[in-house]
């Protein structure tokens, strides 16, 4: 069972067991699926209904550690258990089928190996720093270790990070996590994205106006869990890696 820590509203009250986090209460992209064409409808409903349940690439131990890591990288403690978005099975599926992203950095091992090395290193870092496996650590300590990777200064040092640059591993991991999470219709509902749009496109292009089936934003204040290290640091600059850059195709 993974550990939890909950975000909360400043006015009081944990944000937990939410059907739908975010500022678009009552908005559902899936409710629009009758307006999507067959190929997309099939793909997206399959993504929601048929999450692969068996882990085929990772060993059970690796899967457990990676689950705990993902719970901190892509925390979903606010989501109701029936509404959490599967991340690990998607990564496992990709690695099992060896579906590549088209390239590998010359200073990196293959994606499969990178994951194995990285998971192992993180677990060993936990053991050497806190004398406990990563899974057993309290949330805050898990975040301490991950934050050190995020900052590019692994604490404690581990030989794996001599073999593969820590910022590249971090980018690999984060990108796989966000790909799994933000390709899910429940995440689209959370952020107010319109979802698939064919054959029906958009009518209201400017001023952020909602389509008739979209919802207007209803903002509220919320805070990350009190001891969380992953809140954005508005003042601080992002980690500087001369060669870290985006992998998305935008133009």
């Amino acid at each position: 069972m993974s550990r939890k820590s909950f975000p909360y509203k400043p006015s009081g009250g944990d944000l937990r067991d939410l059907e739908q986090p975010g500022y678009y209460a009552g908005y559902s992209t899936l409710a629009q699926k009758k307006h999507w064409e067959a190929a997309t409808r099939e793909l997206v409903t399959h993504r929601v209904d048929k999450t692969p349940s068996t882990i085929r690439f990772f060993s059970q131990e690796e899967a457990d550690v990676l689950t705990a890591i993902i719970d901190r990288l892509m925390p979903q403690d606010d989501r109701a258990s029936m509404r959490t978005i599967s991340v690990l099975p998607v990564i496992d599926e990709r690695l099992f089928t060896n579906s590549l992203n088209g390239f590998r950095y010359e200073d990196m091992p293959s994606d499969r190996e990178a994951y194995r090395l990285g998971i192992n290193a993180i677990n060993e870092m936990a053991l050497s720093r806190f004398d406990q496996s990563f899974i057993g650590l309290p949330v805050h300590r898990q975040e301490l270790i991950l934050k050190s990777l995020h900052d590019g200064k692994p604490d404690p040092e581990h030989p794996t990070w001599q073999r593969m640059p820590v910022h590249r591993f971090w980018a690999l991991l984060m990108e796989d996590c966000v790909t799994a999470y933000y390709s899910h219709p429940w995440a689209w509902d959370e952020i107010g994205f319109g979802g698939p749009a064919y054959p029906r496109g958009y009518m209201r292009l400017e001023h952020g106006l909602p389509e008739p089936w979209e919802k207007d934003e209803q903002r509220y204040e919320w805070n990350a869990p009190a001891d969380s290290l992953s809140e954005l640091d508005e003042e601080g600059a992002p980690p500087e890696h001369s060669s870290l850059h985006g992998h998305g195709g935008t133009h």
Partner: protein, 322 residues
């Protein structure tokens, strides 16, 4: 004796306006009532077809003239504007050239209507997505609205000229028509300014078309401003007054001019807002062409005002002779 708008207007003009002006108003109203306003209507036709030519010109520019048939309304607007001008100078031109160009333009509007329906059908999802595709497809009623000036041109071609009112021949004709027994055909009715019911029903139709355009384009903009509801709400009012005017002379002289005046005013205000909307777009007046293309359509409120104009005109005419 029921309330007659023109009589009331004449009276109040006589009472409150100084001489040359009150005389002019009386004459103008008489010209209208007697159907002797060919020259002025020709000028109106000329002006409106310049406006609608500009509008269809830039709307079809947006549509990239991807079908050569899209040039026809632009060319016809120019032709109609020219014919209107000629009609102002020559009665023969008004009765021949203007009439035929108006008929062709009206036919073009109807053909365009079918092309626009087809355009909506050919959008992804076609008529299965009526709302999206009507909003985003070619404006379906625009080709019919484009026919407004052609319709006026056709009317003008049957009218008598201003000078006919007091000419000898004109008076004789007048007398004959006033006292001739039997059913008058529509041409005679037109010639003598007896087409109030006809024009009222046309007003109803036009109000529906332009009101519908206002409805979906303001819906597209999510009714961001309260004022965007005004043409949508006024439309049924004008339509009801127009239908009433067909049935009752009283309504034609009271409710119709009132509702039409409101529509006219609303169109004028809308025109101001649309122009302001264009200047407020990103780039504002520094991008005049683009912002006219994709800002609020400048001429659309004027089209709505045009239906108010038609209604007002209807209320000043005489009713058809039975």
């Amino acid at each position: 004796m029921s309330f007659i708008l023109t009589t009331a207007l004449e009276r109040s003009a006589n009472r409150s306006l100084p001489e040359p002006l009150s005389g002019a108003v009386t004459t103008a109203l008489e010209h209208l009532r007697k159907g002797c306003f060919q020259r002025s209507l020709c000028l109106v036709v000329s002006a409106t077809s310049v406006a609608s030519g500009l509008e269809v010109g830039y709307e079809h520019y947006k549509g990239s003239y991807s079908n050569p048939v899209m040039y026809t309304p632009v060319a016809l607007s120019a032709a109609l504007a020219g014919a209107g001008l000629l009609g102002f100078f020559s009665g023969v031109a008004a009765r021949t050239l203007l009439r035929w160009i108006s008929v062709i333009t009206l036919a073009d509007g109807i053909i365009g209507f079918f092309f626009h329906i087809r355009g909506v059908a050919r959008k992804p999802g076609g008529w299965k997505l009526p709302v999206t595709n009507i909003v985003m497809g070619p404006p379906i009623f625009a080709p019919l609205l484009f026919g407004t000036s052609a319709y006026l041109g056709l009317m003008a071609s049957y009218l008598r000229r201003e000078e006919d009112l007091h000419s000898v021949a004109g008076r004789v004709h007048n007398a004959i028509s006033e006292f001739a027994p039997g059913k008058a055909d529509w041409r005679t009715n037109l010639r003598y300014g007896r087409f109030q019911k006809h024009l009222s029903s046309v007003t109803v139709l036009w109000a529906f078309f332009s009101g519908f355009e206002a409805l979906y384009s303001h819906y597209k903009a999510n009714f961001r401003y309260k004022a965007q509801w005004s043409p949508v709400l006024l439309t049924p009012l004008v339509m009801a007054a127009g239908i009433g005017a067909v049935k009752s002379r009283r309504i034609a002289n009271t409710a119709l001019p009132a509702a039409s005046a409101l529509a006219l005013a609303d169109g004028a205000i809308g025109f101001y807002y649309h122009v302001r909307g264009i200047t407020r777009r990103p780039g504002g007046v520094k991008k005049p062409l683009y912002n006219t293309l994709y800002g609020p359509p400048v001429f659309a409120p004027l089209l709505f005002a045009a239906c108010g104009f038609l209604g007002l005109m209807a209320s000043l005419l005489r009713r058809e002779k039975k």
